[in-house]
């Protein structure tokens, strides 16, 4: 059929755009490095200044790859949540998954000062931060899943997500009040969201988490398509609902939890990218949507990151601010234009 051909050309264009954004992202930053030298540094050619090569390999490349992983992973987790919870407004941020991660991080960073008699470590290590954030997001995801199986109303689910956000904010503000300035600063920086602080080792760990999440999603493509009809119809089509739902939830938790742990809470990407993708690929088939959101999410976050690092200036804005400034109007525009959001 001609549609599969159209998809192929769309994918080709998107991949080229992705490569373009990657190149742009690596070549721009607080130190201006000419495009030619950037290219030479990547392919191992001769670079005019040695420091440029160092900047590109140890700072910009890990950051660009983190951005790609984070953008793709968050978008995929958003797509999974929208189908699983039958809710076009679902996403890691809206359902409180990111709040859960924040709470885990806040308790670890700032709670330790309250319990200084028991734990006497100073600045918290990145790995323990990642674990705490993952546990937090998994717990919230679990709670949301239990609520979702009891409440059919999709709006209630969103409100519960908001409530989790409020609880987190309350606990965080109490913790902030009692904690010391250094720890408060560490938490605040984490909560800004950042794709720039990962070493190659941490990047590898993040990549492994995301690949596992992706593999589980690929295994779930057929049940995901059946779930578009609702759980009862999916069961009548031979889907083992309990098993499929568990796999999808684990995949979502790994993606959203792992990413939030390493990069902080990054808003709106998970919610907005699946919708933007559906604008281009006019389909609901997860076999097309999953690869599409991966590429699309990577492109969008690379662009946000380019804006965040304010090219040629020494300042770097929190990436969370940029994704919110771009993401929130996109969601509003979709709501207004389509009257009701469909998925």
């Amino acid at each position: 059929m001609s549609t599969s051909k159209t998809y192929r050309s769309s994918f080709l264009v998107l991949t080229l755009v992705l490569l373009g954004c990657l190149g742009l992202n690596v070549s721009l930053g607080s130190v201006s490095i000419p495009l030619k030298d950037t290219f030479n540094a990547i392919v191992g050619g001769k670079v005019s200044q040695d420091s440029w090569s160092y900047i590109i390999w140890n700072y910009r490349m890990p950051k660009a790859f983190t951005t790609i992983l984070v953008g793709s992973g968050l978008s995929l987790s958003g797509l999974l949540m929208q189908t699983l919870f039958r809710n076009p407004l679902a996403g890691p941020f809206v359902l409180g998954i990111s709040s859960g991660a924040s709470l885990g991080a806040a308790l670890l960073i700032m709670g330790s000062s309250l319990l200084s008699g028991l734990f006497s470590f100073g600045i918290v290590s990145d790995v323990s931060l990642a674990i705490a954030a993952s546990i937090g997001s998994f717990l919230v995801l679990l709670a949301v899943t239990i609520v979702a199986s009891r409440i059919k109303d999709t709006m209630a689910l969103l409100i519960i997500g908001l409530m989790f956000g409020s609880i987190t904010a309350a606990i965080v503000s109490v913790l902030s009040y009692f904690t010391d300035a250094t720890k408060l600063q560490q938490f605040v920086y984490w909560s800004f969201g950042s794709v720039g602080n990962l070493s190659w080792q941490q990047l590898l760990l993040l990549a492994i988490i995301i690949i596992i999440g992706l593999l589980l999603s690929i295994l779930s493509m057929k049940p995901l398509n059946a779930l578009l009809l609702g759980e009862n119809y999916a069961r009548s089509l031979g889907v083992n609902i309990k098993k499929s739902r568990l796999i999808i939830i684990i995949a979502t938790g790994l993606l959203a939890g792992g990413i939030t742990a390493f990069a902080g809470p990054i808003a709106f990407i998970g919610l907005a990218v699946p919708h933007l993708t559906r604008q281009i690929f006019d389909t609901t088939d997860h076999r097309v949507l999953i690869p599409a959101v991966l590429i699309y999410g990577a492109i969008l976050l690379l662009l946000c990151d380019i804006l965040a690092q304010l090219p040629t200036s020494a300042y770097i804005l929190p990436i969370n601010a940029i994704t919110s400034i771009i993401g929130a109007p996109v969601v509003i525009w979709l709501l207004v234009r389509k009257k009701k959001m469909i998925f």
């Binding site: 039958r86 578009l228 009862n232 009548s236 089509l237 031979g238």
Partner: protein, 209 residues
């Protein structure tokens, strides 16, 4: 009906499919034997008609859900039998209730089961579409040899269009052809006689004025 379709747990009694209790079948085994059309709306109305009908082939496709030429021809037949050729690339949110019901029937047909269960397939439809859907079901049953079992409150139409009926009247739940049920006067006591009476000559219910 919802229990037969494995949507709701049973309260009492036992259900047997091909001499094996219903609950001993795996969902996948049942999927090639029983297809269902429920009253609940589908989760995503962003599906196109063809995509939705194609989902009916899931019990037979590989782990990716790739459609074989055989699947494609079954889908094509289902679309043709229900008369949805003109609508097949429309999105479900663009359809009327009656059209959507036909799409769901086509999906059940594409699932290619010997038994199709429908839970009140004519609710929310106007008189014309009610008749249209029921006539469609009758022609499908006669053309394909499938068993179509549906629940309905449209007893007048059921008498005219069904091959066999079960009267769920809590007085023995009689099963038979409409003609037999009329002869045995099972319709007479169905409603309070001071409001509605059954007229055996026209095989219809009359309102007492």
């Amino acid at each position: 009906m919802r229990t037969l379709g494995r949507v709701q747990r049973k309260l009492a009694g036992s259900i047997w499919v091909n001499n094996i209790p219903l609950e001993h079948h795996t969902p996948l085994e049942l999927a090639s034997k029983i297809s269902i059309v429920l009253t609940e709306p589908i989760a995503s109305k962003n599906l196109t008609v063809r995509e939705l009908i194609a989902l009916g082939r899931q019990p037979y496709t590989n782990w990716l859900g790739t459609l074989s030429p055989d699947d494609a021809s079954k889908i094509k037949n289902a679309i043709a039998m229900v008369g949805l050729e003109a609508l097949q690339y429309k999105k479900c949110y663009e359809l009327s209730d009656g059209q959507l019901q036909k799409v769901m029937i086509a999906r059940a047909l594409a699932q290619d089961t010997s038994l199709i269960l429908l839970d009140e397939p004519t609710t929310h439809l106007d008189l014309y579409h009610k008749v249209h859907i029921l006539k469609l079901l009758k022609s499908i049953a006669h053309e394909t040899g499938k068993t179509i079992l549906f629940t309905t409150h449209e007893i007048d139409m059921a008498i005219q269009l069904c091959d066999k009926m079960v009267l769920l009247d809590q007085k023995g739940n009689t099963f038979g052809t409409p003609g037999e049920l009329i002869q045995q006067k099972h319709f007479e006591g169905l409603f309070p006689p001071d409001t509605i009476r059954f007229d055996p000559d026209t095989a219809s219910f009359k309102v007492n004025k």
